[in-house]
Amino acid sequence: MSLVTELLAGNRRALARIISQVEDDGPEAHALLAELHPHTGRSHVIGVTGAPGTGKSTLVNALAKTYRSQGQTVGIIAVDPTSPFSGGALLGDRVRMRDLAGDPGVFIRSMATRGSLGGLARATADVILVLDAAGFDRILVETVGVGQAEVEIASAAHTTIVVEAPGLGDEVQAIKAGVLEIADLFAVNKADREGADRAVLALQMMQGLAPAPAGHHGTGRQAGHAAPGAQADGAWLPPITKTIAVRGEGVAALHDWVEQHAAYLRETGQLARREATRAATALNHILRERLIAALFAGLTNGELDRAISAIARRELDPYTAADHLLQAEKPGFPGIVRRP
């Protein structure tokens, strides 16, 4: 039996081994993904992101338990950073997910970023596809602890939860660009701590500053006035939920919002748009990787080094050098600049 057949039959060892192939970009990875692709597209993918120490792992654990109590199966991908110095990684998210041990309806896989900087690993989107093909109803993807600009999860997930915790920043932090803009839902976790209400208020104020949805001039939202969730005009106002994940408090409400958002995506046609974005992102990555590889393969020995030293000696600027490298006749690199 092939690995894919075994995976589709529910063999967890096969699932784990396919994930490794995909993660390592092994010799069979592309063929395996091609074979799995027709079986994907059924899972709802939920991203969980936020600063280090906000409680993402604990929240993922609690959300997974909620889904399991309703009989839905859950795949979990937990991403932690790779050391830029040693190339090693300490993947510790399972420590907070021990409640899920022994449950055949849950599969947890830890991933190291291996040099990627967007909050996910290069192969995370592909591992999502593998879990999707394996039939998990929901896939929870926990990013590395992020700063302000690691927003890759938004193009990999259907629903993105941004987790905040009290005391991490003031209102000015909340109106900065980046991570906060990708939230479909906010969770203010550790809500039993001092400052939780202030954190909620800061997020609400940020939302009050958001511009009115297109086509509705003069009816901009005012802080505290619009109910969160799906709006009459088809927009989505991210709800803010207080949670205490270690005790499971607020998690049912957060879960309900995830499901409402999933329904909203389906009903408004946004789901198809997000799927297109995911497809575009995936294709974009692959094309870039392959074009770069083909370009380098087509360069003769030393061509690149000569260009680099010419730039360093100020004989050539990098743009002109790139033009030269791309315009040279490259047998393995047909036609990207030789347009008619």
Binding site: R13, G26, G88, L90, R98, G102
Partner: protein, 131 residues
């Protein structure tokens, strides 16, 4: 463009809660360029075998200070084998009396590392054991 890393599960089976040693080893393996999945204390053999399967690790490192190694290690080796993970390298560290080392190795434990072991030796042992 294969990007193969050695993946190691570091786990503490049984009831003692002293995980300093496990954390030191986990960190040393990380610094040696390995991907270490750390699962924390009080893990049952079933939890460890399941995590090893899901994470598709090359090595399972067990830290046991409670004296229960003769009960825990064979069970974990047996569970790994029953799920087709015969090739996984099982290592034990902690307080293991000399008399128990040979029996443990007979049961399928590849390496036993007592107090005072240099982390460099563990790194080297893993590199040699994982092809």
């Amino acid at each position: 463009m294969t990007d193969r890393k050695i993946r190691v599960l570091v786990a503490k089976p049984g009831l003692d809660g002293h995980d300093r040693g496990a954390k030191v080893v986990a960190r040393a393996l990380r610094d040696a360029g390995m991907e270490v999945i750390y699962t924390g204390i009080r893990q049952t053999p079933e939890m460890i075998a399941e995590a090893a399967l899901q994470e598709d690790v090359d090595v399972v490192g067990l830290s046991i200070l409670s004296g229960a190694h003769m009960a825990l290690c064979p069970r974990i080796v047996e569970l790994l084998r029953s799920q087709g993970m015969d090739d996984v390298v099982v290592l034990v560290g902690g307080i293991i009396p000399d008399d128990d080392v040979a029996p443990l190795k007979n049961l399928g434990v590849k390496g036993v590392f007592g107090p005072g072991t240099s982390t460099r030796d563990i790194v080297e042992f893993i590199r040699q054991s994982v092809g």
